[in-house]
Amino acid sequence: MQFDFNEQQNEFRQEARRFLAAECSTERVRKALEGGGFDRQLWQGVAEMGFLGIAIPEEHGGLGLGYLELCAVAEEFGRALAPLPIVSSIYLAAEAIKSFGTPEQQAAWLPRIAAGAAIGCLASVEGERLTEKSTRATFANGTLNGAKLPVLDGDIADVAIVLAKEGDSLSLVLVDLAQDGIARRTLDTLDPTRGQAELTFTNAAAERLGDRGEGWAMLQTLLDRAAVLVAFEQIGGADRALEMGRDYALERMAFGRQIGSFQAIKHMLADMYVSATLARSNAYYGAWALSTGAAELPRAAATARVSATNAFRHCAKNNVQVHGGMGFTWQMDCHLFYRRSNQLALALGSQPDWEEKLVTRLAAANEPLAA
């Protein structure tokens, strides 16, 4: 049994941690929060380290490594609260093009995405909770019409993977966003370090990605894979929020004692540790399924996702609580984690959607979970 990352993968993680510690301090994250816009320099730095192309084949300019390396690095992006379009461009768009694109589509986009020269995004939602019936955008004769909102990183993306109706069924289409038929509107959001936009397509030139009518099924596959990677961002964020809370509890004095000597605080932190630990173990389960292409990936991904969303929210909100009034100041970093924990909880579909998927998949398998 080797239910852990191996030495080489851990080294990769360390490299990412060193790089992000040096280049992506919370001051830098704040710049994006405080209206500084997209940090293209940091994005280029991450690209030069090879982190964007980890799971992209070498022939398309990537490193051609596996998902475990990408999971390890995702955890570090989560720890650092990286204000970067990784979820959209790497976990979603690159994966979509890699898995479902034609050789031409792959050659056109993957090298640019791996190099950080192009940013991808996924546009599926249309102003309400996404269901198989909620899509109104249409694709016909190579043109796309409709509006998508919110689109994560839609404000800065160069290419979009769009869910659209093609006749009676749903397809995925690929749209180059550098054209006249596209309007963008940046939206106010809980976590401006990862922007949101509305994209409107008016007779925009588009090409199908993958098979006609398979859009919904392909989307589910993409969301499952991305859910595992996002779970790693979430456990990275949860761990760091827990560490922040622990450190403050050791430092802050009240009633002549460290606040970390009060059991209410100790037990709060212990419970944060418990949910972070369960989420980490579930994320590893997801990573195992993703990296081996196991048939139980849908179950593992939903398990990892639900668990990681709970843990990051739990740790981020209680980190504020441990910090007291200081925790509610703009100056302290607590709200950065609080914002990101909620942003990630709502990306890829919210918690009730994932709970629904998890129970449906477990009931279908009705296979024993616990040993």
Binding site: Y273, L278, W354, A370
Partner: protein, 415 residues
């Protein structure tokens, strides 16, 4: 990342599986797999005791008892990983060994670490063979979580010690031949410093065992009274005054039994929910109002399962299990209690019935409802486990202790 056995582990697993398949008491399978989850500690009921002893003896004779113990003491000298593989393969039949768990898992290792060679030769092989049952006499009415506050007094008299006092909640004392006993030998020093450990023959004069009727109506634990009990000094485990350290050996060994995986009850719940009818027709599992809860428990069950896989991976690399393993019982205890109550609710007014013929799922959820409070108390309460995580894993300060450096006899005993 994989769950695969090494070739050696696979060979070991195949050997264990073949032996179990050929030798296990298969007629007991339905009883063992049908009992309430989390209720296994009560499996030592009279009719099962003989079966338990038979299974243990068979295992010992074939070299499958106390796998991690040295061969000379009745074990197999197996690696920690082999022990885990055995546990996985033994499956429901492992419940038969619960009667011996305190002896083999806690008392035996304590004797092995602190006893004389003569004691080890004499006491350990029959323990491995299931001929002897052992109990752990630590807790007292005034000393549970605060174990070092115990008052059972041992006074030296030549080559012997004279013991007076009493223990409580001693599991299995009524069926035990031996026990380990933590006593106070010096009340004039600080509480942790004046303790001394012994092993005792439970048939000695001066010991009286009175079963306690437990909240769920069964008797698994006891009160044990000592009246001028005489213990030879040769039965002392560790130095006089070193009892606290010796007791840590016992308690640490509890932690080594990872990998057996504590049930949260989610598996039976899911099974139940996919079979039972829901409130508006269809299956219970399709009721939208319960799915969020099911999802939450699913992640707890799976989280514990894969946490133990990670712990096993660390173990197979030779790392020692640490205080982080406290999370298993902490999560499983309250989850199984919540699941049991939830399952009863789903049964409507029928949920109150305990007759296995009438109650859903052969009344397993009712059994668990009644047993689960104990899981959250025995072997470290939920609150003590949170303290352990906070202090030993996260490095937070210990609780303020007003009694720490005070001579034991000067510690106030009333508010």
């Amino acid at each position: 990342m994989n769950f695969d056995d090494t070739p050696e582990e696979a060979a070991f697993r195949a050997e264990a599986r073949a032996w179990i398949d050929a030798n296990a008491p298969k007629h007991l399978h339905p009883i063992l797999s049908g009992s309430g989850f989390g209720t296994s500690a009560e499996a030592g009921e009279i009719d099962m005791l003989a079966e338990a002893k038979k299974w243990q003896k068979a295992k010992r004779d074939a070299g499958w008892a106390c796998l991690h113990w040295p061969k000379e003491y009745g074990g197999r000298g197996a690696s920690p990983m082999e022990r885990v593989i055995w546990n996985q393969e033994e499956g429901v039949y492992a419940q038969l060994s619960f009667t011996f768990i305190i002896g083999q898992g806690m008392c035996g290792p304590t004797v092995m670490a602190w006893g004389s060679e003569e004691d080890k030769q004499r006491l350990l092989p029959p323990l491995a063979a299931g001929e002897d049952i052992w109990c752990q006499m630590f807790s007292e009415p005034a000393a549970g979580s605060d174990l070092a506050g115990l008052r059972t007094r041992a006074v030296q008299d030549g080559d012997e010690w004279v013991v007076n006092g009493s223990k409580i909640w001693t599991s299995g004392a009524h069926i035990s031949q031996y026990g380990i006993l933590l006593t106070r030998t010096d009340p004039t020093v600080a509480k942790h410093k004046g303790l001394t450990m012994f092993w005792v023959d439970m048939r000695s004069p001066g010991i009286e065992v009175r079963p306690i009727l437990q909240a769920h109506g069964q008797s698994g634990f006891n009160e044990v009274f000592f009246t001028d009990l005489r213990i030879p000094d040769s039965q002392r485990l560790g130095a006089v005054g070193n009892g606290w350290n010796v007791s840590l050996t016992t308690l640490m060994n509890e932690r080594l039994s990872i990998g057996s995986g504590m049930s949260t009850g989610f598996e039976p719940l899911l099974d139940y929910a996919t079979r039972a009818p829901g409130p508006s027709g269809g299956r219970l599992v399709d009721d939208p109002s319960i799915r969020s809860k099911l999802a939450d428990w699913a992640t707890k069950a799976s989280g514990l399962k894969y946490t133990s896989m990670r712990a096993l991976t660390a173990l197979s690399k030779g790392e020692q299990p640490g205080p982080e393993n406290s999370i298993g019982k902490l999560v499983a205890g309250s989850t199984m209690q919540d699941i049991a109550m939830f399952a009863l609710d789903q049964q409507g007014e029928m949920g109150v019935l305990t007759d296995p013929e009438l109650a859903a799922h052969a009344a397993r959820f009712q059994q668990t409802l009644m047993r689960s409070p104990a899981t959250r108390i025995e072997g470290g309460t939920d609150e003590i486990l949170r303290n352990i995580i906070a202090e030993r894993v996260l490095g937070l300060p210990g609780d303020v202790r007003v009694d720490k450096d005070v001579p034991f006899e000067k510690i106030p005993t009333r508010a």
